[in-house]
Symmetry: C2
Subunit: 295 residues, 2 copies
Amino acid sequence: MQLARDSDTTGYLIAPDPAAPRLTRAVTGHDHTGAETKISVVEERPLTIYLNSQEIVTAMTIGDYPDYLALGFLRNQRMLTDADTVTRVDYDEELETVVVRTANPTNHEDKLKKKTRTSGCAVGTVFGDMMEGLEDAQLPAAEVRTSWLYALSAAINRTPSLYLEAGAIHGTVLCHQTQPLVYMEDVGRHNAVDKVAGWMLQNGSDPADKILYTTGRLTSEMVIKTALMGIPVLASRSGFTAWGVEIAREVGLTLIGRMRGQRFVCLSGEERLIRDTDPASITDEPRKSGRKGAA
Amino acid sequence: MQLARDSDTTGYLIAPDPAAPRLTRAVTGHDHTGAETKISVVEERPLTIYLNSQEIVTAMTIGDYPDYLALGFLRNQRMLTDADTVTRVDYDEELETVVVRTANPTNHEDKLKKKTRTSGCAVGTVFGDMMEGLEDAQLPAAEVRTSWLYALSAAINRTPSLYLEAGAIHGTVLCHQTQPLVYMEDVGRHNAVDKVAGWMLQNGSDPADKILYTTGRLTSEMVIKTALMGIPVLASRSGFTAWGVEIAREVGLTLIGRMRGQRFVCLSGEERLIRDTDPASITDEPRKSGRKGAA
């Protein structure tokens, strides 16, 4: 296990809880020398999400914030829209289900009924629905200071997390300027983002002045979700996919990747990036920071 | 871009093709100094998989080996079983679809028809179906030499790949003793595994004497797929999830993770691991090997 140094969760609204007993488990095995070793590994549980009486998907999750995960997933898949009023979210730990109830049936349920009469499953359409949501979507032309990005990256790497405790997990952090606000982790990269989306929905958080930081890759789905959430800046330690870059440029998302120590690459939104920090003034990331690139 | 040194693809049946123009794209952006930079990023395309007339799923993939991906996905999801005879696999690049045709309707299609009358979508059941496949599954008690694991790890890291070319991609390699055989890469960790499964299905490859190596995490889904493929050993540079370990122990899968240089952790199948190499004789992984842990 690696310990975060100078750990600091000041100003967080939600920080990771690496000590939570339900999220990790100590497992005994043998290391390369043959010596018995006990390591901490993350839990992984199925959670089936329902929209009213409609079974939508079974996600594999560490199991924290199931309500935010369900809300955020349905919202990011555009199965929940502004037109829908969420009346209740019921989580059943034993049944491993979470049911999101709306005042009236959603468009998605109607669409699904039509769809099931034809191809039998709506999975294939989900992605299309997400893309639809991007039609003439334009994000606010929010400026971003490199000083903010460097400060966030340093603060997030110092934050005690399940990643530092057990590895094999992704993190997504909602931030404002230099302040990380909501830090979600999950075995599924997209679950972490969806939990942030669910929190924002629940708390009416304004996305226009926010920055989303992820340990995961900047894939099309990650870029689309960030855009659908209305957040104008997405930064990551990890790399890009071509379609992710394309979509970011179309919707005016500032996209920054391969961010490690003083280094980063900006592939979209350079004109909104305020370079107020001399990279040479940033000490490059210590080798043993514990963070590794999420390939 | 990072170059692999001592590149060697001797003995591979399928090796990555980092030079393939369709798989990566050069994108221009700006680095941390503000200088214009051109980097290579992986492509990412939707591919909708049909089983006969049934739309099953839309996967995001780099786009190579769509036929293996479709076959392997359907097989690993147990939508295709030994009872089914695949008559044709039709890939349409323009429509971004691949259709797997069987001599007779599959159980899955029947199940889906029932299912769609109730909850409207079979997504939630897919995972259950995979688990079902594991009931009283027991893998052959194949011995594994640590000398093989060290040799494979070194060979795979020296193999020119899209990862070394563009990053942000996962690799899965089917191996026999010290020889990597089929090295698939994809933006989706599971696509890479499914492409290997499709290749094995197509070529009638015997899984009992094989080792599966992945750059991805050892999640429940990765462990289940390896077990369903009948491969008794799964090794990774990356970490574990608790459920992944549990399932590996249940089905008798040898599970080795956090494999870097001379280090690794074995959390299942220690009794089948033959430690024929002194770890001290293995030079630890060079810092700049280009490989990073897939968090």
